[in-house]
């Protein structure tokens, strides 16, 4: 009898927790998406920031795919890239997206920053939005630079040098970018896009 009561209480507690979690999730979705109101007439150019994020996600996805095949060695780097392009199914497409993507991504980030600069949206209290955005632009340029050196058939670089560049390209810079993005999005959520506080 006592054991039955304990099991019943345990089940009841679990059900209460599940209901609380469901309510919390429902409320969160309603508050931040379905019932959320925004100022009318936002410009289409305001989507440039979102597109930069989309470009980053595409680069991340294709980059992870290429990581499985790339060999960071002066002798095998170029051969591994060519192997992906010619032997792996749809490898050419993934590799081309990863190579062309940065051009479009930097174009998006630059146009987003020029819009912010000319509209003066970086003023108080949004100075840190600009700081994190500018850091993201510099990190994106560095990401491109380190990435472009990886398949380079250049005797100037040793394998150690190439491995170091590879580590920076796949871990160091993306981590810094994710941190800056987190800061950027958190501040946008807190202060809004373009209005006095």
């Amino acid at each position: 009898m006592l054991q039955k009561d304990v099991i019943h209480n345990k089940d009841h507690t679990e059900t209460v927790h599940e209901t609380e979690n469901e309510n919390f999730l429902k409320e969160f979705i309603e508050r931040s998406i379905t019932r959320r109101l925004i100022p009318k007439g936002l410009s289409w150019f305001g989507c440039m920031g979102g597109l930069s994020l989309l470009a980053f996600i595409i680069q991340l996805g294709t980059g992870i795919f290429l990581m499985f095949y790339f060999v960071p060695s002066t002798r095998e780097a170029l051969a591994s890239i060519q192997y992906v392009s010619h032997r792996v199914s749809y490898g050419w497409l993934i590799q081309r997206i990863h190579a062309i993507g940065p051009h479009i991504m930097i174009g998006m980030v630059l146009s987003h920053m020029i819009r912010i600069l000319f509209k003066g949206i970086y003023h108080h209290p949004r100075e840190l939005h600009w700081v994190s955005g500018a850091c993201l632009l510099i990190l994106t340029l560095l990401m491109y630079y380190t990435g472009s050196l990886l398949p380079a058939h250049n005797d100037k670089y040793s394998t150690v040098h190439l491995t170091f560049l590879y580590a920076i390209h796949i871990a160091g810079i993306p981590l810094a970018m994710v941190l800056c993005m987190g800061m950027h999005f958190f501040m946008i959520r807190k202060t809004g896009i373009y209005e006095p506080l």
């Binding site: 007439g41 989309l54 062309i100 051009h103 479009i104 003066g120 970086y122 510099i138 250049n154 006095p196």
Partner: protein, 149 residues
């Protein structure tokens, strides 16, 4: 989270879902189409050598030309760091007097505050010195790309 509905009439607002979400979906579809067209149109260089001028991407061209113009590694790196710091700290360099605290529960006062804010934190062309600096820098960067060295 910022509440945009505060001190605003209903006709000044629109729902985030579906309006803004659809706007982003449409623009994202355009983005993917542009990227796929770019993949087909532009050639891919797998044998990249970054020092070769033909393969310098458009966004690194000013940096490459600056390097060629200066001929001094230390000075070039110092200049790059200086410009990067200047770029990052731009809002602090051009900041004006901070706006006053927001009045509470007074719609009229809020509207006055909004007008004052817009006047003080307006578009770039409303402040002549920062505007001139930005235009001069943009023209210099573009000209740097076209210099034959």
């Amino acid at each position: 989270m910022k509440d945009y509905a505060k001190h605003k009439r209903p006709e000044m607002l629109e729902p985030f879902f579906p309006n803004e979400i659809f706007r982003h979906i449409i623009v994202s579809c355009f983005f993917i189409v542009i990227e796929l067209i770019a993949i087909i149109v532009f050639p891919l260089h797998t044998n990249l050598v970054i020092k070769k001028p033909d393969h310098i991407p458009w966004f690194l061209l000013p940096v490459y030309k600056l390097n060629k113009l200066i001929h001094h590694e230390t000075l070039f790196i110092s200049l790059l760091i200086f410009f990067a710091l200047l770029f990052i700290s731009w809002p602090f360099l051009v900041s004006r007097k901070r706006h006053t605290a927001l009045p509470i529960n007074k719609e009229q006062d809020t509207r006055i505050h909004h007008v004052r804010y817009t006047k003080r934190h307006g578009n770039l062309w409303q402040s002549p010195i920062p505007f001139t600096i930005v235009i001069v820098v943009i023209i210099s960067v573009v000209m740097l790309c076209f210099i034959n060295l």
